[in-house]
Subunit: 398 residues, 2 copies
DNA sequence: TGGCTTTGTGCCGACGCTAAACAAAATACG
DNA sequence: CGTATTTTGTTTAGCGTCGGCACAAAGCCA
């Protein structure tokens, strides 16, 4: 069994997530000797994944010999990341460290045929690769629906005109092979739900860094999505359908939901619910999320808007409290409308969650807004980087 | 860093959980060569943890040289396991493989002082060790309440007269050191919630064997508990308080609960709720669980009892469906009253769960009754065995 | 009886790591 | 200003684990 240096993967992950700025901390984080850390860093540099800056660093004040600094190689290989959302798709090349190297303007509408969309997106990515001349090590795709394992089918993509059960992973893989992207000979494409990938990205590079059990909740256009990262790995359940949090009951007297219950989070705490509670008509010109966020930011002084925000915060808090009781995460990150609600009145949400979660008195869970631009896109890239993080020697084969 | 043979732990775990009956399957399960598997088995035998039967086995029908068979050493070391429950405590010695080697009659009542109870229980265990002459490698304790990390305090032990926040782990450790159990010099005692430990035991030795994401739900006397085993490890959350499933809403028009909501699983699907729905008065002579289980088994023909069972199954199903939407487990195991409800009408429960879980159509999650006697006790032993499973060489130090 | 198949074992080498000594680059202190 | 101290990086030797291989053992099948 030809297996590479086993500390190689953890070491790359530390540099990738910014937790190993020098060889010295690499040594302590990995729990190995300086000799090993040095050899590992040298090998990662030889693979073209990281760079070492051995110039006399502008001294951090501590005594002793200053460390050489480790960086992700900014001119190194990239992965192709694509995100499908209700307003169109977006394509980017993402390097190690979650840095977006190049983006394509993408497209503003989503045709009904998933195969076409994915082929177009991959073509845009291929063009980016040609322009930049970067080496490509894999590809990841974020879609705004549940992705069922083991086949990678998009279930119930409500916001798109796609058929439920569309085999998006297979279509993505086919688009990749058809495009013949250099380096990705045997197509290596991964697909995930956008909120899951947001969670992954925030855990690696954003507000979730360092959390052990990270819960994310986000609302895009319609409905509410959730995601959980445990010990650095996405928990997507046995068939990829975990964290379908939209049908927690948050308002026993609420409106009936298509799921058969009533007062579900999905219909009580999404942008449409917010606009409704504020007495606004959803206009067709911009997205529901955009309208709701604008309302929160610009008209929060309006008592009606304020009351609607309070109402949604209370419902959201109830849902999050339920999740806290079940999952007991050590950090919570909110995205989309929920991020805007949190920022509008952080204390109210934290109070509701603490009050309604069983052991809320004992400290309370930190609740933070997401902190990355394009986090789902970066998360899709994380998916593609994962094999390299697991065993950096695979770059030799691509 | 003096570290033992790294395949040693996984190998012992395979034998321990009954998944490696021979060296041949050990080879394939570990993904190592026959040479390594042989060496590992020899070392485990030398440590006194397993035994190898090299007699010509009564040929399993397949051709080729028959394998020698691997067993857990039935005369090997044990761990001390104790369980506190509303009706008293129980103490046992448990060997590898989850086999109960000896039990103490225990005690039928629980005094108000946890320190006394734990000292008594440890004394009983100490007596068992003296009688059997076994070597003891650790100790585990199961308590009927949440156990908060990192300090191991029993929160809100409703069924006991103990104060909330009692430092049970510390008290257990002190009892162990005071008892001076031979072998356990520096006290190695672990404490966990009983439903969590039931899940652990069922996953290793019972109906949960082979599951990757295992969800357990059980109701003892009052309230409902949950537990989750992910990738073979208990998920108890960042502070040990995960899977507090009792306050999922399962009856929006239900009675108000002390948590501030109404219709919680805790008060809608426990033995008291069942007796109430069946129009029976809870008698003081036996436990609530016993009364409810007897009613289900012996008077299920009674229409009132049947209707009460249906009602509770529907509520329980609603709660389980909510958990399925959030956790997406690949197997579910029920204990206590819920086990009895499942056995009374398996199809009804499965139908409710499939109907109310979002993706229930696609197959449905297997729901099974628990299959071990004294599973919380065995789970407490698993906790104590864990260090040995992680690195079998620790037995040399004890 | 002689293949065939599968399992167990002994030997050797590859390789990833530790340990220990040494070298280098900064600060601290006289 | 020079030496001691601290921390980091590198070199070398050596150990332990595991893979690869050859061979032996123990059953089926013809």
């Amino acid at each position: 069994m030809e297996r590479g240096r086993s500390a190689l993967g953890p070491a790359l992950e530390l540099v990738h997530t910014g937790r190993a700025p020098t060889r010295a901390v690499l040594t302590s984080e990995l729990g190995v000797t300086r000799a090993t850390a040095g050899a590992v860093a040298a090998e990662l540099e030889a693979l073209g994944l990281i760079t070492v800056d051995s110039r006399p660093t502008a001294s951090a004040g501590s005594q002793g010999r200053p460390s050489h600094r480790l960086f992700v190689n900014e001119r190194g290989p990239v992965v192709l990341a694509a995100q499908i959302h209700a307003d169109g798709y977006r394509v980017a090349l993402v390097g190690l460290g979650g840095r977006i190297v190049a983006t394509s303007p993408g497209c503003g509408t989503i045709p009904e045929d998933p195969a076409h969309v994915l082929a177009d997106a991959v073509a845009a990515g291929s063009e980016l690769l040609r322009e930049t001349g970067r080496r490509c090590l894999g590809a990841g795709l974020a879609v705004p629906s549940a992705v069922a394992e083991p086949d990678g089918e998009a279930l119930n993509p409500l916001h798109l005109a796609w058929p439920s059960g569309a085999p998006v992973r297979e279509l993505f893989l086919r688009a990749l092979t058809d495009a013949g992207i250099p380096g990705v000979t045997e197509a290596i494409g991964f697909t995930g739900n956008d909120v899951n990938l947001m969670a992954l990205a925030e855990h690696r590079h954003g507000a979730g860094r360092g959390a052990r059990d990270l819960l994310c909740v986000a609302s895009g256009h319609r409905g509410v999505g959730g995601a959980l990262v445990l010990d650095g790995r996405l928990h997507s359940g046995s068939s990829g359908l975990a964290l379908e949090v939209g049908h927690l009951t948050v308002n026993p007297e609420g409106a009936p939901c298509h799921c058969g219950s009533r007062g579900c989070l999905d219909i009580e705490a999404d942008p449409l619910a917010f606009l409704g509670a504020a007495g606004r008509e959803p206009g067709p010109e911009v997205s529901l999320l955009q309208q709701a966020a604008d309302l929160l930011r610009h008209e929060y002084a309006d008592p009606g808007v304020r009351a609607a925000a309070d109402l949604l915060i209370d419902r959201l808090g109830l849902g999050i409290a339920g999740l806290v009781n079940i999952l007991n995460p050590d950090r919570i990150i909110l995205g989309g409308l929920h991020r805007a609600l949190l920022e509008a009145d952080p204390e109210r949400l934290r109070a509701v969650v603490a009050d309604r979660s069983l052991w809320g008195r004992s400290g309370g869970v930190p609740i933070l807004p997401c902190s990355l631009d394009h986090n789902s896109l970066v998360g899709a890239a994380e998916l593609a980087w994962q094999p390299v993080l697991d065993d950096p020697l695979v770059v030799l084969e691509r």
